[in-house]
Symmetry: C2
Subunit: 305 residues, 2 copies
Amino acid sequence: MKHKLLILSQDENQYRALIEEARLVNLEFATQPADDVDIVLGEPKPIKAALDSLPALIWAQSIWAGIEPLVGPASRRNYILTNARGVFGRLMSEYVIGYLLAHERKIFKRLEDQKNKSWDETETGTLLGKTIGLLGVGSIGAEVARAAKFFGMNVRGYTRGSETSKHVDMYYHGSNLLEFAEGLDYLLNILPSTVDTRKIVSTALLNALPSHALFINVGRGQAVDESALIEALNQNKIAGAVLDVFEREPLPKEHPFWTTPNLLMTFHTAAPSFVEDITKLFIENYKSFNEGKPLKYQVDFEKGY
Amino acid sequence: MKHKLLILSQDENQYRALIEEARLVNLEFATQPADDVDIVLGEPKPIKAALDSLPALIWAQSIWAGIEPLVGPASRRNYILTNARGVFGRLMSEYVIGYLLAHERKIFKRLEDQKNKSWDETETGTLLGKTIGLLGVGSIGAEVARAAKFFGMNVRGYTRGSETSKHVDMYYHGSNLLEFAEGLDYLLNILPSTVDTRKIVSTALLNALPSHALFINVGRGQAVDESALIEALNQNKIAGAVLDVFEREPLPKEHPFWTTPNLLMTFHTAAPSFVEDITKLFIENYKSFNEGKPLKYQVDFEKGY
């Protein structure tokens, strides 16, 4: 049976070239939505926009991990949705370890010293022996946990119920959220945006952290009560925050985050979807699809991830 | 047999408290140089200054790795000199990985973007698949190599002759220095200061690097031809440099390094001697000393390390 693929991505040309190179069996390309397109590959938003013009759609492969536009309560669900996982763990680990080291090693302060020609031997901190808490331990969390153990950290994980990573020293669930937060040096949110995770990083959770704690968000902006975080930083209830994701992206110019003290931001750049990685995943999934086998990383529309 | 220990360090009180706590057999403390002091623990410079007043000295434990003041050609050599090793590897790894990630992740650029309220999604780089070259592979180099492999890098090592770390993919020796440098993404100097290593980071070596290469120096400033490095940075022959050590420390205010483009500096703070770590090493060595066994990390006065 022939399959027809539509690519809906800003990197369409790169994806097409790499997929053509792989000479996949039974695969043809479409250049626009059509009645016979049964596979789509791309970013969630353009896929969402094209859904009504894809009556024969059987499988959509998202090139991102986050697929919120496709799993809303009113969304079409009569197709298989797979997202990108597995490829982001290493990149997220680099981001998290990078910003933890920037914090401990006082990398920004040293640059200020240099600008002031001030030879300041203020001692550096270390990751060794510190405790990190992971809000959410999926494939990304497991990879961050592995990196944290490499640097000699203690690792706590807060999950709905699963305890899959062996690099997590201690798991917490359900109502044990504040207990999980107690005494953490670093809190990392990796949770997706769902009804259950909305504003899970609340005033109560931030108050439960020690005042020297650093908060990092690489999950979703919706998981954070933004006003609570701003207040915690303004009142030095925690030492700092590093945010890669926000409730609204791009972050509006008038948002207080831009100038909140001890807040560093990046621009949803922590774990980019490298075309080569995603293509590899697509090819693997296509081969399964063509042979009628189950696909990797299927999204549960009900759960929303 | 009784032993008498003199501590010559700015952290004397901390060291004394921790050593007293260990209740070491046969050990007494001296508070100043005396004829019956046979052990000294401290920084190399005050040890050097006290040598003439310590006729009975048998063993000196340096709390630093670098012991240049004690191994010059005219220096006294009729005692056992041990330095601090083993404890710095993990700290150095943190420093190196931290600055490599700051470079790849454009951590400083993102801060500028934030100040300008500019949502810039410029893609981030990654350590995965990059190649690092280690000038010197002792205990610190081995630990950095281990961290580099963790992040998926290729690792080259340049040594006098030893090939001790299994985390180094390929070793180079002697006249193969420029071959070693070819195609490196990152060059890391960890060499001590000896006659053989002086200005090993020369114009020729810097010219052999790709223009996107980053140079990091955590070894000794003497290993770098400072003028050659300044020229390489001014002419964009390499992408950047991160220096923790310098020919003269503290770096004089008029030194061009302070304002050389793409040069980041720290202030000999990459791997601090934490009192707890050094005390542990001292106690281990003291027990061997008291029992007439060989000590760990003995310095070869001839080689200078």
